[in-house]
Symmetry: C2
């Protein structure tokens, strides 16, 4: 693994305050691999053999049941996934596949668990990380249960807009198919949702979106920091 990559991982909240030597142990055991797009990395139901860190690219977490499939989350650099399964020595609850060509660190579960035992600071970071993951899913669950598709889209647009500087224009970070999956709707329905938002100043040109009437969009979106804030 390259030095700058090691450094980047080390700077993750999860690893930042852990003991240098324990970090070294973990990274020695780790694999770094590059995968093309659309590779299935893990499959729900399989034992959690590895913990994953996305260095570059993008990974989609999804789940299946009956004949249906749903997107649970998209993980971008530098992000991790499937931590809970690793810690509980359980099977994965979600599947994962690359949605872009991606560089990914795989750390054997045993090494993660060992580090938790050996390094109190790491255990502490782990608790914060897990609590954060938990709260993220709770927010997502609230988002889905308390909002219509149009409201979810409006809030998501405002979030991206904020992230990109809030100057009235923004770029969708994913293609529309993926965005639809992420928001829990079909591509057709996303297209219609964009139309519904047109009177609220949402102007779509491919993946570029102009927001020409932020105030009325915000009124519609009724955003809520207990759902939309990344922190808190």
């Amino acid at each position: 693994m390259r030095q700058d990559e090691l450094k980047e991982i080390r700077e993750l909240d999860l690893f930042r305050s852990m003991d240098e030597s324990v970090f070294g142990d973990i990274m020695n055991a780790a694999y770094l691999q590059t995968f093309p797009s659309q590779v299935e990395l893990i499959r729900e139901g399989d034992p959690a053999d590895f913990f994953y860190v996305v260095i570059e690219g993008c990974v989609e977490l999804f789940a299946r049941s009956n004949g249906r499939e749903t997107t649970m989350a998209l993980v971008r650099p530098i992000g991790t996934f499937i931590l809970a399964a690793v810690l509980k020595e359980a099977v994965y609850l979600m599947s994962a596949r690359t949605s872009l060509r991606s560089r990914i660190v795989m750390i054997p579960s045993r090494d993660i668990r060992q580090a938790v035992s050996n390094d109190q600071e790491f255990a502490r970071s782990m608790i914060i990380e897990l609590a954060g993951c938990y709260r993220a899913v709770v927010k997502e669950h609230k988002n889905l249960k308390l909002r219509t598709a149009v409201e979810r889209l409006a809030n998501r647009l405002m979030k991206y807009h904020q992230d990109q500087g809030g100057n009235g224009s923004m770029e969708l970070p994913y293609d529309k198919k993926t965005l639809a999956a992420l928001l829990g709707m079909t591509p057709e329905n996303l297209s219609r949702a964009f139309n519904t938002l047109k009177p609220y100043g949402v102007v779509v040109k491919g993946t570029r979106i102009d927001l020409t009437d932020l105030e009325s969009l915000a009124t519609l979106a009724k955003s809520n920091r207990l759902i939309d804030d990344r922190n808190t």
Copy 2:
């Protein structure tokens, strides 16, 4: 707090392997209170001042946004809630109210966090507990996104049936209104869902339900251990 109650709390996975003296400290700081039904214990958005353990009764976790409200979970004895907010020193993401007269232990957040720092075993239990909470919400999220209302009901009935011995008959643990909220539907829709299940051998007499054709019900339910199993 009574001795037998202390013992029961001590036997929770969360507290079982923690240091005796740290457990003593925590319990000294704790309050035990009895609340009537329908008391709002916490409100989403408030700072997480206490960690809660339900000793007796039942607590509903719910969330609001826009004018809507949704049930997130029901906590029965001996169960805990709102752990993640306490650990992150954040605000509550969910509100809670008693749905029965309930005896509840309230532990100041600071004491919980202190115990995590002082007791490595406790930190370890905390990680397992949090990972479990996370996985529970993920399962709930999958349940909601991948199944129709009828399927959710069918699976829930099979779970209760299993819990109660699996002899072809079962008792609903909540009234139908609550059950509906828990399954993410309206009472009207629950009633119709029961009707839909009649041809699959589901016979409703008040809160008593007979399952006379488990095989066909199971076929409809297509239960999935990655959604329905409490463990794994």
